[in-house]
Amino acid sequence: MGNKTALYDKHQEMGAKLVDFGGWDMPIHYGSQVDEHHRVRQAAGMFDVSHMTVVDVTGTDAKEYLRYLLANDVAKLQEKGKALYSGMLNEDGGVIDDLIVYLMTEPGVSGEWFRIVVNCATREKDLRWMSDSTASFDDVALTEQPDLAMIAIQGPQAISLAKQAVSPSRANLIEQLSVFQGLESEGWFIARTGYTGEDGLEIMLPEEDAADFWQKLADAGVSPCGLGARDTLRLEAGMNLYGADMDEKVSPLAANMGWTIAWEPENRNFIGREALQKQREAGVSEKLVGLVMESRGVLRAHQKVIVEGVGEGEITSGTFSPTLGCAIAMARVPAATADSAEVDIRGKQVPVRVIRPSFVRNGAKVFD
């Protein structure tokens, strides 16, 4: 038996099919992954993401520590609650994990602190790496928050339905949140972030409040959704999945994460900077692209991608896109790849289009 989130009984009550996910018993779907996917694109769905790891970073050196630990620069966070997506790299520039970091206080005040959310499957190595990386700082404390549940509510109706399921002051806060901002209200941390390409919220709350809130969301008309739909939604949105689209052996420059590296200011020393700079000067030989297959079939991770006259690559994540009605994938291919390729599907070479890795945003197709 795996770890159980505070919502385990709710999942069973609502008919979830539970599977092991990084040591946790998590819902993969509640009947139909495709139906849940459509609910999120068209209305609102909710996901239990309590298995994810929350770490608070405090102490007078918290900010300087994170500016050293992360490839993106937390000095960009200039408003209370603002969030930043970043890779956490090793010295070779490989991606240890990807994460979200929130500035929990007003910027620049004393006592400035941050909240980080990292992946569940990478929890132990992340915590070890983060802890080891504090060595050259005098005052940094890392405090994991294992007692927080986390619920993501996503979709065009997510905000309006979530407001019906919370207290007036929390509803008021939700109304004021800007995109990519999280703030606290009556002990809950409410963020306007997500992993689906839709508007929505991610709410961290004490475990004892979770089941009641989940039920209130269901009563308001938010559909429970499993990790299956979460994966097809994030892939349509072109968002990387750690362990599939990148890992420690992959440079962020070859994982469509170049935009998350803050090269300026030049004198900021962050872990992996030197290696990345060398890679950038030498030229990166691979890139992460999107594939669209118009013929029947489904693209899958690890299928071979053949680019005539250029070379070969590999699908890192593939699926059937419920929104588009065809197969889509992310693939790592030679940098010289243009706008077409072929994928080897059980011995047959099937033509695919090569696009920027983003397929669907806010319910609609985003490529030509």
Binding site: V34, V298, R300, R346
Partner: protein
């Protein structure tokens, strides 16, 4: 527990067989199989008129989660395929023993029917795999 109708026959690769009594059989995948597959998004079927032998790969079911081969549970000629599945592959999930059927075979050797599992034996097999 999955639905295993007692009037059908089964094979260990999770296809069901309905003996029609006129030398033909109808074939599909079981409720247990569709449940394992999850949402079915494509079904590839053999061509009408083609000959298949027991154990041949004679189709593919693709769900969001995985691709899975469909094996011919008996030998014979394919006399019909379920064309509805092209536009509505989800019938495999919603009605695996009815509208979600795959293809019909005209048997070349009716003795092969004796090799099939009955509902009880198939149920035991599913439980032992669980």
């Amino acid at each position: 527990m999955s639905n295993i109708p007692s009037e059908l026959k089964y094979v260990a690769s999770h296809e069901w067989i309905r003996v029609e009594g006129d030398g033909t059989v109808t074939i599909g995948v079981t409720d247990h199989a569709q449940d394992l597959l999850g949402d079915v998004v494509f079904v590839e079927l053999p061509e009408v008129g083609s000959e298949v032998a027991t154990g041949d790969e004679s189709g593919v079911v693709e769900s969001v989660k995985a691709a899975s081969d469909v094996y011919a549970p008996l030998s014979g000629e394919v006399v019909a395929i379920n064309e509805e599945l092209e536009d509505s592959p989800e019938l495999v999930n919603s009605d695996p023993y009815g509208d979600g059927w795959f293809f019909k075979l005209k048997l070349s050797d009716s003795d092969e029917l004796n090799e099939l599992l009955d509902a009880e034996a198939y149920n035991d097999l599913c439980e032992s795999e669980a």
